[in-house]
């Protein structure tokens, strides 16, 4: 039941926030903060209270009839993987409310309505185990995100919003066709109309059909993740979105793609995945290197950070398609840490833009002397992003490489070069923005207590994940075991 509350609180909180703006512009912020805070506490309680031995794969579950005519259920459930993602969602949700505290002054109520509803959509995606419900939530999180971009975004917001919407919608419809095909084929095989995930697992499919259906799912997740030829919406959307939008896009929306691949693509279509693995791994490595190279050559600070996402999410893809325990642990870890480190970078860039009204690297320089605390924070997150040991990103990427090494040595070697490349862009960011002479004579206030709190929390999180990742690994481990069993291909078969 808690799961229904988790979503419901966000939905209702969003409506309350929209209405309350009538009385005071602070009220929507407080309501959002309170609602997401309650959700975070509830989610932590599920986490703390989870049974140590595997009684059931789900720590919490709701299963209601929704549209009996189609066999659609409201089936929400949470296992270790979902729980970690949900925790990340609420944590970054709080960050995005805090980061818009002074940035958003127009239409505050409607802004927080959209913010809360996009979080509700994302949280539902992570806990939906009925494919219809999953698709429903998948599409639903698009609309508020679109509004966040086109109403509160920067100069080219309409273009970026449209591109984002069209890319996701087009690939989403392909997934819908794939879901329908799976649904009908399952009905042909068993006589039961159902969208239930656990029942659709192991539907027997001809290998060509399985490959086609897998591509439908893969298309949707590949656009979100994003995988390189389909990534072009990402730099635009991330750059034009308001800070909170960028944090949610990079920190959460991209993760729905990774989550979908782990949860749906591989377990539902193990043989097709197996056949497709070499291509996916190659795409992953291309993404890692390409993202890093593109990031290096950007002069727009936000665009730079956006391209680093392409690179980091390449590691996630590499981990997922290597499909051994180490690699999967690494992929999940990378998703979480990337959410924190990139989210934090967007917060800092947003704060910087609020102060100096530009994102152009060429006009910056010497900001460290003007705002040393901000510089130090940026240095920390840049180092995290380039994979310095002791911070979370390192653990994730290291595990991915360790796992991928067993699948393909060549690709792993190339992927490690991506880490090298990340050093270049991270250091370039620091040098151009914060070091060197302050030629433009920037004078700016340093981090406010509110920003300090956000940045501090994210630093603490990354250090915790970097130095003592075991609790997270323990949480995802049983889920990974289940997924690997569901996928029904022994790990050994994937080694070559």
């Amino acid at each position: 039941m808690t799961l229904i509350f988790l979503i419901g609180i966000l939905l209702v909180g969003g409506i309350l926030a929209a209405v309350s703006a009538r009385w005071s512009p602070v009220l929507p912020r407080l309501i959002s903060l309170a609602a997401i805070g309650v959700d975070l506490v509830l989610a932590v309680r599920i986490w703390a209270g989870r049974p140590s031995a595997a009684v059931s794969p789900w720590y919490d579950e709701v299963d209601w009839n929704w549209i009996p005519g189609f066999g659609v259920h409201i089936h929400l459930a949470v296992d270790g993987l979902s729980l970690l993602m949900v925790l990340l969602t609420f944590f970054l949700g709080i960050i995005s409310v805090l980061t818009s505290w002074t940035e958003i002054q127009q239409k505050v109520g409607f802004f927080h309505f959209n913010l809360m509803w996009v979080l509700a959509g994302i949280a539902s995606v992570f806990v939906a185990f009925d494919l219809f419900l999953f698709y429903f939530a998948w599409e639903l999180m698009l609309v508020p995100m679109y509004f966040l971009i086109v109403i509160w975004g920067h100069e080219r917001r309409v273009y970026a919003g449209m591109k984002f919407f069209l890319f996701t919608q087009c690939s989403g419809l392909l997934m819908l066709i794939a879901i329908l095909a799976l649904y009908l084929l399952h009905h042909q095989a068993t006589g039961v109309y159902t969208f239930e995930y656990s029942e659709l697992l192991g539907t027997s499919l001809a290998s060509r059909v399985e490959l086609l259906i897998m591509f439908g799912f893969f298309a949707a997740f590949a656009v979100k993740l994003p995988i390189v030829p389909l990534h072009t919406w990402l730099p635009d959307a991330h750059t034009e979105a308001p800070t909170a939008g960028s944090v949610i896009l990079a920190g959460l929306l991209l993760k729905t793609g990774g989550y979908g691949l782990i949860r749906f693509v591989v377990p539902l279509f193990p043989r097709a995945t197996h056949a497709f693995t070499p291509v996916a791994l190659t795409l992953a490595v291309i993404g890692i290197v390409y993202g890093a190279t593109m990031a290096f050559s950007q002069s727009d600070l936000k665009r730079l950070v956006a391209y680093t996402s392409v690179s980091h999410l390449g590691f996630v893809l590499l981990g997922i398609f290597s499909w051994n325990t180490l690699a999967l642990q690494g992929a999940i870890m990378t998703m979480i840490c990337h959410g924190l480190s990139t989210g934090a970078l967007f917060v800092l860039v947003g704060g910087l833009q609020e102060r100096i009204h530009t994102r152009d690297l060429d006009r910056m320089g010497g900001l460290w002397s003007a705002a040393p605390r901000m510089g130090a924070a940026a240095l920390f997150f840049s180092l995290a992003s380039l994979g310095l040991p002791g911070m979370g990103d390192f653990v994730g990427e290291f595990l991915v490489l360790l796992g991928a090494y067993r699948v393909s040595v060549v690709l792993t070697v190339v992927a490690s070069l991506g880490i090298l490349a990340s050093t270049f862009y991270a250091l370039r960011l620091m040098q151009r923005a914060f070091f060197g002479p302050n030629t433009s004579n920037w004078r700016l206030p340093d981090l406010t207590p509110r920003e300090g709190l956000m940045v501090g929390a994210m630093i603490a999180g990354l250090l915790w994940l970097g130095l003592y990742p075991q609790p997270v690994l323990n949480t995802s481990a049983p889920a990974i075991v289940n997924l690997q069993r569901e996928a029904r291909i022994p790990v050994a078969e994937l080694r070559r």
């Binding site: 549209i67 239409k107 599409e139 919003g161 087009c170 419809l173």
Partner: protein, 475 residues
């Protein structure tokens, strides 16, 4: 004809009776409010009679009409949309000095025509219903004849409708020449082969011209944008919803089971569906007038409905029914809002007039957004479930090519819906003309439509069950 038959015909009789009463009332005393109230009372009585006689059907009343749950479902839908149009017309007409009362009379007659079509199983009732509908619509389309585009729209509709009716008659004659009856049943049970197949197939092709014209599907769509733009908004709403619903109801009865298995007929409809989806969605991209955009979008939507129709199974007939309800609710809301925003001289067409609407009239803009998202097929609206249902039925029939076309074109469609949405939410222009206020009755209708749009988008089970229960005898 005995008492049972009369009872079964009650909905049709009530509409016809209301039309007569309204006509007499206008003759005695011109009162806009009274006319509107009489009209609504008549439509409400009709709706109640639909519910009341539902347990007594099916019943074949004369060879012409079959009153069954299927017919009653569509008569109910048509009556309800006609009532919504009547209420929306009230506010619209209040701001116009011209004669107001006759529009209700025409609306009732058009509704009668639609209801006859929905119950028709015979070419005679088909043609009678279609003509009652068309003749009323000629006058309704050109109701404000002093406005620009109004006469153009009226004459365009008149000429094209007459020509297509002629085709329809010729087609009926050919089918009669071969089968010796004007009932639909030989067409429904059409078996392939036979020496004079050519007559029947040609006959079907010609009747499809008449049907295709009313639906506004490619290649019979040329009137759609002009008529949608030139008609008063409530009339546009009626043309877009009730008149098309009636024709689809008839089409499913007329062709769905037998004739569709004949390859020539199937291919003709496939081409029409694909061409409509492409033409509607692509031509809408370059439009800047909201009414014209909605016109092109309706061409595309009937392409989608044809996809379900082509799939031709029980699930497909239910999909068609659900899609029509979704489409009706959505378009009534959309055109209702266009009507509400319209001034006395011209309708609120240009996209400029919608700029920043959300910041001035948040509720209206919110409802309009919901309607646009429903048309685009975004979840939590009826339009999404309609599209989902259509895709399901197409997938069940393995019509993959049609599905792919549907997906590709509806992504293109998204683009122009989002353009309107962007306009709604962008910063308002400096000088804003005053928008007319919102009458309580219109507000009520728009609110109810919005609630239906979301409610059945989130919890469609009751509606689905209802639609499925009407299909027992259709097959």
């Amino acid at each position: 004809m005995n008492a049972g038959d009369t009872l079964a015909l009650l909905p049709l009789l009530l509409i016809a009776g209301t039309a007569a009463v309204v006509m007499l009332a206008i003759a005695i005393r011109r009162s806009h409010a009274l006319t509107a109230i009489l009209t609504l009372a008549g439509l409400a009585a009709t709706f109640a009679s639909v519910l009341a006689i539902a347990p007594l059907v099916p019943r074949q009343v004369t060879p012409l009409l079959l009153i069954d749950r299927y017919a009653l479902f569509y008569i109910g839908l048509i009556t309800a949309s006609s009532a919504a149009v009547a209420i929306l017309s009230f506010q619209y007409l209040e701001s116009h000095a011209a004669q107001r009362e006759e529009l209700y009379l025409l609306l009732l007659l058009a509704t009668l025509g639609c209801a006859v079509l929905a119950a028709s199983v015979h070419f005679v009732s088909f043609i009678l219903g279609l003509e009652i509908l068309s003749v009323s619509l000629y006058a309704m389309v050109a109701y404000f004849s002093d406005r620009e585009h109004s006469l153009e729209a009226g004459i365009k509709y008149l000429i094209l409708a007459s020509v297509s009716a002629a085709f329809l008659l010729f087609g009926a004659a050919l089918i009669y020449a071969d089968t010796g009856t004007l009932a639909f049943s030989p067409v429904r049970e059409l078996s392939l082969g036979g020496s004079r197949m050519a007559f029947v197939v040609t006959g079907i092709a010609l009747t499809v011209t008449g049907i295709g014209f009313k639906l506004g599907v490619v290649p019979f769509h040329l009137w759609t944008p002009d008529v949608y733009e030139g008609s008063p908004s409530p009339v546009t709403a009626f043309v877009a919803t009730a008149s098309k619903t009636a024709v689809i109801a008839l089409l499913v009865r007329y062709l769905s089971s037998g004739a569709m298995r004949s390859p020539p007929v199937f291919y003709v409809f496939s081409v029409m569906a694909i061409a409509s989806m492409f033409a509607g969605n692509l031509l809408a991209l370059r439009q800047t007038n909201v009414k014209r955009i909605l016109a092109y979008s309706s061409i595309a939507h009937f392409g989608y409905i044809l996809v379900a129709f082509l799939a031709g199974s029980a699930i497909a007939a239910a999909a068609v029914g659900f899609y029509l309800v979704a489409y009706t609710v959505t378009l009534l809301a959309a055109f209702g809002i266009v009507g509400v925003l319209s001034g006395p001289e011209r309708d609120a067409g240009s996209l400029e007039q919608y700029r920043g609407l959300f910041w001035r009239r948040p509720v209206i803009a919110g409802i309009f957004t919901a309607a646009l998202f429903s048309l685009a097929g975004i979840p939590a609206t009826m339009g999404f479930l309609g599209k989902f249902y259509v895709l399901t039925s197409a997938a069940a029939a393995s019509a993959w090519a049609l599905m792919i076309v549907l997906v590709i074109t509806s992504v293109a469609g998204l683009f122009y819906y989002l353009r309107i949405v962007v306009a709604l939410y962008s910063a308002p222009p400096e000088h804003v003309g005053e928008h007319p206020g919102l009458a309580r009755a219109s507000a009520l209708v728009l609110g109810a439509l919005a609630i239906l749009l979301i409610l059945f988008g989130v919890y469609p089970a009751p509606l689905l069950d209802l639609i499925r229960s009407t299909l027992v005898l259709i097959g």
